[in-house]
Amino acid sequence: MNLKFYPSIVTKGLVLLWIAGLIFSGGCYRHPSAQSLEYEANAVQALRIEINSINWDE
């Protein structure tokens, strides 16, 4: 059985468009809510020192 597939230029174009769509809608998509927590390493360090230096039991 001859199963060779000869897509027309239109089909080729559509397939490429579909794949490009997949890439840009899925692969690179980031939900707007995906705002990661920003922090400053120096501030984190300083805050940890402050928090640990306080005697919270008092």
Partner: protein, 437 residues
């Protein structure tokens, strides 16, 4: 040109598989919805908080709770810190990090493997699958849990959270994790508590912003540094001593109000001795049993309560199918849709919130009691607790006016509702004589 197309498709597929770049490091997310809500509530129309606050809140949270790959317990008190009685740090480490097995073949990264795709890395109920689920996955950050044996405004017990993990939530996408061993379940329970504390503390920090002048930091690190420098001064003059006293008072006041009081008293202390808040369930009266000769009268009593004193029909509908009140929202949604200018039925009015990460609001449906699907468990004792205590975060109220006998009668009626054809109850009414025996 002959094989250009297959090659092109192949290379495109390869690019697709590889992806567009490196995955970003796993990080907790900022509660942008809460921040936007605070802006809408407290700033002039359209104004935003200074961008520095996002970084400062991020820094405080990271200092106290760490990162998903390196979580920390907020241990503040040296002796008998309450958080150590509430959460096991090894459990947190085991649940939080990346998925792997350690050298003893113990599985790590349990939360990421089993929970994060729905509940999100941050526990915000907004993992990648969340928008497609109905109901939405739980957002832990409000410290509210629906199915528990404790009263409203109390946190659940470990036993309650374990029950949800073991049994799942029937009628929702939350599956049962019965196949996991006890240690794994306990690790996940502790991490859920950890994310809850972290999220609640983040909300408190954001609520503090409205008390500050724009740009004024939550914690003034420059002042803290000045205080540390002054502490180092040997043989200070009287003026320096006075200055040190003032700095100390201001610094410690700030640290207590932003960190100590909020974390220890408002966030962590609620979880200590949660077991003591458990509501006791009295034994069911004999008439609850179907074999008892007074059972039919008991059911009729429950039916009357359903329509009259209990007022259950108002939401659950005259026939119990859950069609009484269809325009209510749960507390997780009400939290932001009550912001002025937002109408949950007009998407344009809440676009900013959904852009910030809120899930589109959906009204909460009262349970269809004729389906015999009970999200919080179908054991009579579990239904008793939900009637007695209400369901946290939902319009289902507690029933302090009902006696335990009356609650048991309601339980009997609710449990019988799926089989109402057997009982030939009239659609609505309270006339016992109409009931076929």
């Amino acid at each position: 040109m002959k094989h250009v197309f297959p090659k092109l498709v192949f290379s495109t597929v390869m690019v697709l598989l590889v992806g567009c770049g490196r995955s970003p490091e796993v990080a907790y997310k900022l509660n942008s919805v809460e921040l936007l809500k605070q802006e809408k509530l407290f700033l002039d129309n359209g104004d935003h908080f200074d961008d520095s606050y996002k970084r400062e809140i991020g820094s405080i949270l990271t200092a106290v709770f760490g990162t998903p790959n390196d979580p920390l317990l907020p241990v503040l008190l040296k002796d008998d810190d309450p958080v150590l009685r509430v959460i096991n740090s090894q459990h947190v480490a085991r649940s939080a990090g990346p998925v792997n097995r350690d050298y003893t073949q113990v599985r790590n990264g349990l939360y990421r493997q089993h929970c994060a795709h729905c509940h999100g890395i941050t526990g915000d109920g907004h993992g990648p699958t969340a928008p497609f689920l109905n109901p939405y996955p739980r957002d832990f950050r409000m410290a509210k849990f629906k199915y528990k044996a404790t009263p409203l405004r109390s946190v659940p017990t470990d036993h309650d959270l374990t029950d949800v993990l073991i049994n799942g939530v029937p009628g929702t996408a939350m599956p049962s994790f019965r196949t996991m061993d006890g240690d794994q379940i306990a690790a996940l329970v502790d991490y859920v508590k950890f994310l809850t504390m972290r999220g609640q503390y983040e909300r408190f920090l954001m609520a503090e912003l409205s008390n500050l002048d724009q740009g004024e930091p939550l914690i003034d690190l420059a002042l803290a540094k000045q205080y540390r420098v002054m502490l180092e001064v040997r043989e200070p003059t009287q003026q320096q001593q006075q200055q040190l006293g003032q700095l100390e008072e201001k610094h410690l006041d700030t640290m207590w109000s932003v960190v100590g009081a909020r974390l220890i008293e408002d966030v962590i202390a609620r979880w200590v001795d949660a077991d003591k808040n458990r509501t006791a369930v009295p034994s069911a009266p004999n008439a609850y049993s179907r074999d008892d000769r007074d059972h039919q009268d008991f059911l009729e009593k429950g039916r009357r309560l359903f329509y009259e004193k209990g007022n259950c029909a108002q939401c659950h509908g005259d026939t119990g199918v859950g069609n009484g009140q269809l325009e209510n929202f749960d507390d997780w949604t009400n939290d932001w849709i009550k912001t002025p200018g937002v109408n949950p039925f007009y998407p344009n009015s809440y676009r900013e919130f959904t852009d910030a990460g809120a899930l589109a609001p959906r009204p909460i449906k009262p349970r269809n009691l004729t389906e015999a699907v009970y999200r919080g468990g179908g054991q009579p004792e579990e239904i008793y607790l939900r009637i007695a205590n209400g369901i946290e975060g939902t319009p289902m109220p507690a029933a302090p006016a009902l006696s335990s006998d009356e609650i048991w009668a309601l339980v009997a009626y609710v449990k019988a509702l799926p089989y109402s054809r057997t009982y030939h109850w009239p659609a609505k009414g309270v006339n016992a004589n109409q009931i076929a025996r």
